[in-house]
Symmetry: C2
Subunit: 306 residues, 2 copies
Amino acid sequence: MGGDFAPLEAVKGLQLFINQPHKAEGIFCIGDEAVVKPLLESFNILNDVHLVHAPEVIGYHEHPTKALKEKQRSSIAIGFHLLATGKIDAFISAGNTGAMLVGAMFTIKAIEGIIRPTIGTIIPKTDGSTGLILDAGLNADCKPEHLNQFAILGSLYAQNILGIASPKVGLINVGEEEGKGNILTQATYPLLKENKQINFAGNVEGRDLFTDKADVVVCDGFTGNIILKLAESLYDVAVLRNLQDEYFNRFHYQIYGGTPVLGVAKPVIIGHGISSDIAFLNMVLLAEKMIETDVCGKMKASFASL
Amino acid sequence: MGGDFAPLEAVKGLQLFINQPHKAEGIFCIGDEAVVKPLLESFNILNDVHLVHAPEVIGYHEHPTKALKEKQRSSIAIGFHLLATGKIDAFISAGNTGAMLVGAMFTIKAIEGIIRPTIGTIIPKTDGSTGLILDAGLNADCKPEHLNQFAILGSLYAQNILGIASPKVGLINVGEEEGKGNILTQATYPLLKENKQINFAGNVEGRDLFTDKADVVVCDGFTGNIILKLAESLYDVAVLRNLQDEYFNRFHYQIYGGTPVLGVAKPVIIGHGISSDIAFLNMVLLAEKMIETDVCGKMKASFASL
């Protein structure tokens, strides 16, 4: 029920997913039966999904914690309940972002040893590859140890989901040399340098974000969110300038579909409010990949070994 | 003598300036006479400039404060001396950035009342207008009162140099609503809202940077530097993608030429190390405009009234 065009685009995205080869053993569709059932019927996928009735909806402007607590029969609350109890293996929604985060943190919970779960976003590189930036906005103010953990989470995500064997990790900074930066990055650099679980490539400047200097770049959520939204707007700029360019097309949010919450025990993916069918399709594909690779299990193992 | 292609590009830029209508009453060229004089002669502008001999050069990797103190006969030291004593009205160099900043701070000095001078950079807007972002990297860590002062300096710069009558000031942030942000922006918002010397337009997100939502955007120098370098790299991306686009061409550093130090008593402009003739031309034009509009005097008056 989440997203500006819910549930139509979600159903259309599911149809796209179902009509292509896939490995998912069961697809659960959580929403208001009266609205969703006829839609699933008209798209001819009613028999391909388990429809779970959720009569309540958490609106965009509702207080996340309060709404999640009070609306136990909303699609978000039910989704987290199914995920927590093992009925489903991944949960996706384009609904209230705050409620999704609260559910991820308090129903699914952070992996032991992780101080702050984070969200990452994809960065298209000019060489055709794909990088990851994190935190992309969940933790506006960060400490060095947070960024050091993001580096591990991002590396595991890049290995498992982006298929990069030994991802180069960069620290977003204002200069190349060690010692450059603000208080946060100056204190973070030595931690990343000593971190044996990552392949640290040093500082990465604004001009390096689209190059192959690093596959995974870490920063506080304030910086990451500015970069994420600036990068997304490049797609709009290209459209405005009437540029038909493959590279700039890759900045369209629907390519990556949604934002995974990293550092929580199970796959949770948050979609854009404006999610289209393609965005939903890509989120389901991402969920499938997160399940298949057991990336959350690998994160757990990685932090257990520390 | 500053810049990777010094002094050739500087002399070529001066020639471009001299051969167009201009108001500058005197042009001082500070550098090693043995190198610069033949160049000025070959470009036929020896009689148009006052050549000031500077036998020493501060290298790129020298320690700014130490070099400036020890190399009193370097072009940077002599330039600041001429500016401080009123022999010249503006000083430009593409040399050691640190030495330029140290000279600006300690020889020219901050305007009374200004806690931290800042550097700004131009942002091309998709509507054809030009915006300003500051701090662009001088002050990596900032306090709310710094950003509040940057807002005033930026507004005066936009009015006088960019010709925007009542520049809209935005606070770079992760969300639109008041209350959003990291500790710094949450504390800065109320200051900007109460600031009667500016036309505050609220928070500005990464996606708004190239739109007309604000003419002047303020942030800490860490964030600003990441944005500046990311924006500059868009020109390179466009070239790489073989896009011949007027808008992306405007991201080329040489369009704005150099970075003015704002909040010091007199015009100081720092050029890119890779400055070309066009970049030097644009820096001289900017210096001319800063002198003509007395933007530094207006900044002084503005802070005297607080």
